[in-house]
Amino acid sequence: MTILDLVRLNLLSPMVLAFVLGGIATLVRSDLKFPEELYVGLSIYLLLAIGLKGGAALSETPFSVILWPALATLALGVLIPIVAYVILRRLGRFEIADAAALAAHYGSVSAVTFAAVQTFLEALKVPYEGFTPTLVALLEVPAIIVALLIARVAMGQGGNWGELIHELLASKSILLLLGGLLIGFLAGQSGLKQVAPLFVDPFKGVLTLFLLEMGMVAARRLGDLRKVGLFLVAFGILMPIASGTAGIWLGSLTGLSSGGAVVLGTLAASASYIAAPAAVRIALPQANPSFYLTASLAITFPFNLAIGIPLYYGLSNLFY
């Protein structure tokens, strides 16, 4: 298959189409609204399900197999925000707070993009390592800390680091992901089998529903696109391609399968819109949410969903 075939295949998946439908619903000013509680419920489900599946797979993975990919993931979590910060300050001429906030988002990770790449690979029957959810968990936090550290040093401030790190680790997204991972790990594949009719089989359907809502949320941000400027639009597309390539390359170096490397690349390319915004809003309130939310939600997320994922899959051929 050529990359174009892949894009077409991906664009016609129920998940991506649901995202588009959500966008249309907002654009035609439909009265369709997801109750807040449904959105929260679906998020809880997705994070827990990702964790559970990953944990059960991890329970059958030898430590030596996951060690190097895990270190590569941590390296990505430290390097991406530094590179992003420098680009945004130097080339983009953003304020310190705004550059750091964006860096935190692009260094961190989007669980839904992760779910989408899994679904994509499964549709193509490309195998990938079962422990990838562990990598999601590893990649979620460090970038946020690094970016906030940069901001505070650059602005000459101190700040309560203990509280911030506690807040990050206790934040619901990380707690559910890590908690699910641990439950899956302890309960093993036989435990997972008991709850598979809820947490495994309907997963893609729930993702479809969730992406319908995400499409509405992203489309509501489209109006802000003009405000954020052309530079940020370009950044929101090129940065993921760069990080994605780096992720695939590191994946190939550390012994991941080609499917696993595509996952790691997609994780690196994805931008957070759950953990990072909350942390940044508390720790860097001066940063303008229009920048980081619009870039992450209305540019990078749909780009990855529709084009990025098949692209990274195509790129992986250069390394394998």
Binding site: E36, Y273, R281
Partner: protein
């Protein structure tokens, strides 16, 4: 009947824990919280998962009300989407709010 102030704060959801802690320190003896949607002059909020606005009400003595309003204005108006207002209210057996 005693005269108290009902202070209402509308704020982004991400501030919940912090605001409730500070209200207690400023002298509020209780609060009632409801989730709300809204629009004002600032618009953008933290994240979709964090969800919509908080609407926090607290019945307090007039001097506590003033303290809360000044505190919220000083600490939140610059960077956060927050409003605060105060209303006269009458209660029965008002000691429990003081």
């Amino acid at each position: 009947m005693q005269k108290l102030k009902l202070v209402t704060i509308v704020a982004e959801a991400v501030l919940e824990e912090r605001l409730l802690r500070e209200l207690r320190h400023l002298g509020a003896r209780g609060y009632t919280l409801v989730m709300a949607r809204g629009e004002g002059t600032r618009g953008v909020h933290a994240s979709s998962w964090e969800g919509p606005n908080l609407r926090i009400e607290t019945l307090v003595a007039p001097e506590v009300a003033e303290r809360i309003m000044t505190y919220v204005a000083d600490h939140y108006f610059a960077d956060y989407a927050v409003i605060v207002y105060s209303i006269d209210a009458e209660v029965i057996r008002g000691e429990k709010y003081l």
